[in-house]
Amino acid sequence: MSNHLLSLLIWLPMAGAVPVLIAGARGSASRWIALAVAVATFVASLFLLPAYHTDGAVMQLVESTPWIASLHVNYALGVDGISVALILLTSFVGVLVIVGAWDVIKDNKPHQYMAAMLVLEGLLIGVFCATDALLFYVFFEAMLIPMFILIGIWGGPRRVYATLKFFIYTFLGSIFMLVGLIYLYHKAGTFDMATLAHLPLTMKEQSWLFFAFLIAFAIKIPMVPVHTWLPDAHVEAPTGGSVVLAAVMLKVGGYGFLRFSLPIVPDASAHYAWLVIVLSLIPVVYIGYVALVQEDMKKLVAYSSIAHMGFVTLGIFIAFMLVRDLGNVDAANLGVQGAMVQMMSHGFVSGAMFSCIGVMYDRLHTRMIKDYGGLVNVMPWFTFFMVFFAMANCGLPGTSGFVGEFMVILASFSANPWIALIAAFTLIIGAAYTLWLVKRVVWGKVTNEKVAAMKDINGREAFVLTAFAVVVLAIGVWPQPLVHLMGGSIDHLVQQLAISKI
């Protein structure tokens, strides 16, 4: 079975969507089937841990069958430590969004919602498994369809605008990558990513390809100045959509940088690393201020996501500076590791933050900060979780939010103390907007009678939030297993950075 474990992980949720749709809107059968499929996928993904050997640098659990024989395109799957971590994140979040939407979507085509979620989960896992660039692209693009539907049907009042913007924006970015990939195919005669990583390319070619990849992944992750789709999409998406978007979909952008920009165009990436670093530092500071003035909770968290993802790109590209200019491989390792830990951590923390907002939204049907106040008096348990995740969001030591940011800042310090200084600024500004949010929403006196009538979280909601909290705390206190899981692959990746392909 372990030979086809990856295929199972991809196709199980997608195939599971069919009985969910057949079960129909009435009754709760569709929800139970969806939950069973999601749990089965999560359990199956846990089998990756014993099957995967962390010391190896090459792809493992490889599957390869000819897909389009005449073009030498293969249905090729494989995972390294980075993929394993992200697949676990995906299947974990996959279960929680289905539990989270249990009663919320009840009256509005729940079966279609659950089916869309499952298809999305399968496609996301596919993105993290694909080792053939065309297959990667297919998964990468196909996941726009279920997300488009999720935001468009179950979203807020401006959902149509938001979802069209989301789709067209992301499509715009990725189609340039497609041209880049076809060009690589034209040169190499294959879409196999490992072969492409060894393909010699001139600086001019690399630069064009670098920007093709940059536009695709910068939009996905998203970086300033192409981030504007994210606040809209987040605000309008249903809670589950926001959770998946923040927790997993943004990670695809970071993953893309690691899989494409770094190994395939290392020289151009090194040459333009300064650009990406600048574009990463801008959101850390500027977007922090933007987050500060938001009146909509979801928008605030969306902006904080952009700021946090800035750390990811900073960690990845600071590695170039460290390896190429300073020859400091250890610090480069630390930077990429920090970026990866930050991705994982942000996945859990932002997912949890959006779940918290979802809990409030289900009760009062508003996301405006001013409509809330004094929740601690009526929802003590909820307050406990909310404050905990808020602390994680501003990077308090002991939570997962701290680990990644600290590693990235440490790595940037070896490169240039000024970069570290600007990056560290986020600790202040992040604390400012998050704690101010908590202050206005949670603390103080009950501001109006609607808030006074709010009930505390029920068992289902407590389950979702507890699951998130356990992981956030675990990574924060003991990040070693996660770092170890990804360590071998990151070492390998950083070694590749040093090799020029010109």
Binding site: I68, S70, I145, G152, L164, F167, V179
Partner: protein
């Protein structure tokens, strides 16, 4: 000299002619309520012809009647898919025609004659056969467009189609006569050698230009696209389904037969450049104008123009892989448009045309399955993986990049982004909008239609997941 061999090579066409004549006679003698017999017989004829095309296929290219007619892989594939689309047209349009009192035997006869034209056209070995096939196709199509003779829109569309189509045919014929004058041959196989030795290169060049104008007209490539939106909007949807599928395969076949006779060499670069200009114009005009349409048939018309732009990009490459990509694209376009128009046919009923985009509002609430099928068609047309249309676009882009025309590929993808918007709008209307109160939209309750439509739409998904064999087939066609 008429030989037994020639007849064998032409067997599918000869069978089709004979069978259509029988159909015509039979239909004249049956009563109105027995029309189902005509319907099923027409479907059987189409299927048998398709069977003959596939089984009668020789292992290597053969020519008959002194090179007038060629039976090779290209003609096989294009004829087969033209017949498949005609089959789909027949199955999809029965309830539509019935509701509008247009359910006459002539519809089947004319469509089958048109597809005979397609088969001749894509198997043409000489300029004369090209013209013959084209006229058979277009004359039948004019009548089909005017089929709803009491509708002013339909008649207007037919007149426009006829006048502009006649102009295009004239231009094509004029170009052919110039080429004949310059080279002294009508045989496509000898045209290249004769063209290289001609002492009248300017005449040849003019001939080529006129011919390309004719081809562009038939494809509906900008700036010769003016007839297309009016025909799509005005003609009965059943006819449009045919014009958008089988006719486009024929147009590709014609373009390939004529243009490949002029490569490689000096002339190649001249028609390549002309096609590139046509392609860019089609991509830009088609996609931009489609955005503002409110009528879905008109929207699909502009989308056709844009799709012909992509198809031309494959032809511009003028290599076996480029032709294969263009043929793959033509097939994918034919199968996608039958789904899109099939859903329109399925949702229309007596007195309700279901052709405004707003008519599709909230379709997901009323008919989940139809909405899903239409969504597949829209995403496929937009070129979103994992659907068929994406891979067709991928191969076209690859052909353009292989030919070193990166700028064309960039234009094509920018156009694709623009195009994405209007396809998404249709999905948005179906899924995100609430249905209009009081408007009853329910699909026709015709089982064969529903099954075939589902099959056709799911084929877009299936061929997206596994398109290797079909593409190798297209590649083989041009490999020899």
């Amino acid at each position: 000299m008429l030989s037994w061999n020639d007849i064998l090579i032409l067997l599918p066409e000869i069978y089709l002619v004979a069978a259509v004549c029988v159909l015509l006679l039979m239909d004249a003698f049956i009563r109105e309520e027995q029309r189902n017999a005509t319907h099923w017989l027409a479907i059987a004829i189409t299927a048998i012809t398709g069977f003959l095309v596939v089984t009668g296929q020789p292992p290597h290219a053969l020519s008959a009647f002194g090179g007038m007619f060629i039976r090779d892989r290209v003609s096989e594939i294009l004829s087969l898919f033209a017949l498949i689309s005609v089959l789909l047209v027949f199955v999809f349009s029965r309830p539509y025609l019935k509701d509008r009192k247009l359910w006459h035997g002539e519809f089947y006869v004319l469509t089958l004659f048109a597809v005979l034209g397609v088969m001749l056209l894509v198997s043409a070995g000489s300029l004369i056969t090209v013209y013959l096939g084209l006229e058979l196709l277009t004359l039948s199509s004019y009548a089909l467009v005017a089929f709803n003779r009491d509708s002013r829109l339909s008649s207007e569309a037919a007149i426009k189609y006829f006048v502009l189509g006649a102009l295009a045919s004239g231009s094509l014929l004029y170009g052919m006569s110039m080429i004949y004058g310059a080279t002294g041959t009508l045989d496509l196989a000898h045209l290249h050698a004769a063209a290289m030795q001609t002492d009248m290169p300017n005449l040849l060049r003019f001939g080529l230009i006129f011919m390309i104008v004719g081809i562009a007209f038939k494809l509906g490539a900008a700036p010769f696209h003016m007839w297309l939106p009016d025909v799509y909007q005005g003609a009965p949807t059943a006819t449009v389904t045919f014009v958008a599928s089988a006719s486009k395969l024929a147009a590709f076949g014609m373009a390939y037969r004529l243009l490949s006779a002029f490569g490689p060499g000096d002339l190649l670069h001249q028609w390549q450049l002309m096609l590139a200009v046509l392609a860019v114009l089609s991509l830009v005009i088609g996609n931009l104008v489609a955005i503002v349409q409110t009528n879905i048939k008109r929207l699909l018309a502009y989308s056709t123009i844009a799709h012909m732009g992509y198809l031309l990009l494959g032809l511009v490459n003028a290599s076996p892989s480029g032709y294969a990509a263009a043929m793959f694209y033509a097939i994918s376009y034919a199968l996608m448009s039958t789904v899109a128009f099939g859903v329109i046919l399925a949702m229309s009923r007596a007195g309700f045309e279901c052709e405004e985009i707003d008519d599709f509002k909230g379709l997901n609430e009323r008919s989940r399955w139809m909405a899903f099928l239409m969504m597949l068609a829209m995403f496929s047309l937009a070129g979103v993986p994992p659907l068929f249309g994406f891979f067709a676009k991928l191969l076209i882009l690859k052909a353009a990049i292989d030919a070193g025309m990166m700028w064309l590929a960039i234009v094509a993808i920018v156009a694709a982004i623009v195009g994405l918007y209007y396809y998404l709008r249709v999905v948005k209307v179906m899924y995100f909008d609430k249905p209009v109160e009081g408007v009853e939209i329910k699909p026709q309750n015709d089982m064969p239609m529903r099954w075939m439509l589902s099959l056709n739409a799911l084929a877009l998904l299936a061929l997206g997941l596994y398109w290797g064999p079909l593409f190798s087939w297209c590649q083989q066609a041009f490999a020899g």
